[in-house]
Amino acid sequence: MRSYAAQRAGLAVVQLAVLSVLVFVLTSLLPGDAADLRFTETLTPSQVAALRAELGLDQPPVERFVHWLGNVLTGDLGTSLISGGPVADIVRSSIGATLVLTLATLAIVVPLAVALGIVMGTRENGRVDRAITSVTLALSAIPDFVIAVVLVAVFSLKLGWLPATWIGGSLLSSPALLILPIAVLFGRTVCLLSRQVRAGTVAALNAEYVTQARRLGIPRRQLLLRHVLPNAAVPGVQELARTGDTLLGGVLVVEAIFAIPGFATALVDGVETRDIPTVQGLTLVLAVAALLINLGADLLCNRLVPRSEILR
């Protein structure tokens, strides 16, 4: 167990190193930079060159990378080319809304998906199982933005029950704002997760140790909670780590539609204005978050079922 955790953490460190290089290389070797984009219409070429020197855009890439990495390691994500303020401030001000959205969605999705998965798995191919499977299958085929557009049209524009866009203030202080975004994010995640839990439950129920436990007369309730659930949870937890990526994509769409000033909105803004330090800072934070989620999921799976191998 200890050595598994150590090995897995070692891999995460390597991944982190590679990702930081990738984030930098991919974002900085691109054609066109903020100096080009901002002032080409109003400035002469020599003024653009001066601006580029001031922003440090004229130095060789390797030098810029070392400089950037050194700063990142000391907790300095750089300065935004557009606002002139520290990138860390942009990260701090935008991460809250995204975290609220993601965590609130997960808080609803996870218990529901586990419950649905077990209900389906224990009634394999029964009427209930087939009904829920069909619904989840259909729901998971509808893109987030289609659900969002339709929900906004019906509940905000037509019926006027719920707000369609963010109008300022804290997300937590006005829960009505959260209802539609979470409804959009909820659909696909719950489908993907519950299907994995179902598959895990079916596999666990058919395993020999469950037959053996039944023969020993262990009550059904205890059998399900103590023996089936931990095994059934493994594909679910792994799927959850993978869904993290899907969920983030969904959050991006949701933030754009409901004009919520979160991480995704900041990222899209950064991309649009070619504010490279901001894009680098935001994607680095995202990449680290994804890494940690995967690390956590793998460690948790190993804890639940200590036989899982490292990777693959």
């Binding site: 991944q15 259909a138 085929a141 509808i142 893109p143 933005f145 289609v146 557009v149 991006l252 994607t283």
Partner: protein, 263 residues
């Protein structure tokens, strides 16, 4: 074929037919006022004929996703098959380990980079979506091929002195097809989602492009004025992904039943 399969095939076929045949249909949509109900399906926010846009918008909406998945299978499948069939452990490790490192790469990162550098280039978005699928495809193919390659059938074929090519392509390659077909359905759905989301956010194709996802995004304020301008492209997209999801589900069931019957 049972009724359910016919329905799923139909769901896939309709948008596919629109995407393939649409661009050559000699339909001359007239422009009018925004969100008016002129023409068969009315006009969109820019006053363009919705039906005319639908006919040309499928090529990017479906083509980019399908192209990305095919490319991912070409690269990832090759890596997976080679890694599984090689006897050199270092080659296997050397090809698979770097992919493990790339696995947690957030797709948003790749997308935003492509959007910064090659905005509005369909080819660039296709390649980016493909690259994001390569690690998982390679893993899947490798696992499926290893399963087949370590079985008694390959052992027997080898003892019959069948050539390496016959064994690899004739047996291992063919037995990989089952899991691949099942995976293809969900993967194409996800690729359609990803491409559509990029376009919907305005990070991909130009906001005036006839692409279905772009149309949904552009006309969403007009949903109550001219519902078809949003619903028609949305329905075509949903029909395609739903059909593929259902087909993939059938394939998974079928391959599982096959495995159980041979046990």
């Amino acid at each position: 074929m049972n009724p359910r399969e016919v329905v799923s095939l139909g769901l896939v076929a309709v948008p596919l037919a629109v995407a393939v045949v649409g661009p050559v249909v000699p339909y001359d949509g007239r422009t009018g006022l925004p969100y008016s109900s002129e023409g068969v399906l009315g006009t969109d926010g820019l006053g363009r004929d919705v039906l005319g846009l639908l006919l040309v918008g499928g090529r990017t909406a479906l083509g980019m996703a399908i192209g990305a998945v095919l490319l991912a299978y070409l690269v990832g499948g090759l890596i997976g098959l080679t890694a599984a069939s090689t006897r050199q452990r270092w080659l296997d490790e050397g090809m698979m380990r770097p992919l493990d490192v790339l696995l947690p790469l957030p797709s948003l990162l790749v997308i935003s980079v492509v959007a910064v550098g090659w905005r509005a280039s369909a080819a660039a978005i296709t390649v980016a979506v493909a690259m994001m699928n390569v690690p998982t495809v390679a893993r899947l193919v490798r696992a499926a091929a290893l399963d087949a390659a370590s079985g008694p059938v390959v052992e027997a074929l080898r003892m019959q002195r069948e050539s390496w090519v016959t064994i690899q392509l004739g047996y291992v390659g063919r037995s990989v097809l089952g899991p691949v077909a099942a995976d293809l359905g969900t993967r194409i759905t996800l690729a359609v989602f990803l491409v559509a989301s990029v376009n919907f956010l305005g990070l991909g194709l130009s906001p005036t492009a006839p692409d279905w996802a772009v149309s949904v995004s552009r006309n969403r304020e007009g949903l109550l004025l001219q519902p078809w301008s949003v619903l028609a492209p949305a329905l075509l997209l949903v029909s395609f992904t739903l059909g593929f999801n259902l087909l993939a589900d059938r394939l998974v069931h079928r391959s599982r039943r096959l495995v159980e019957s041979t046990r």
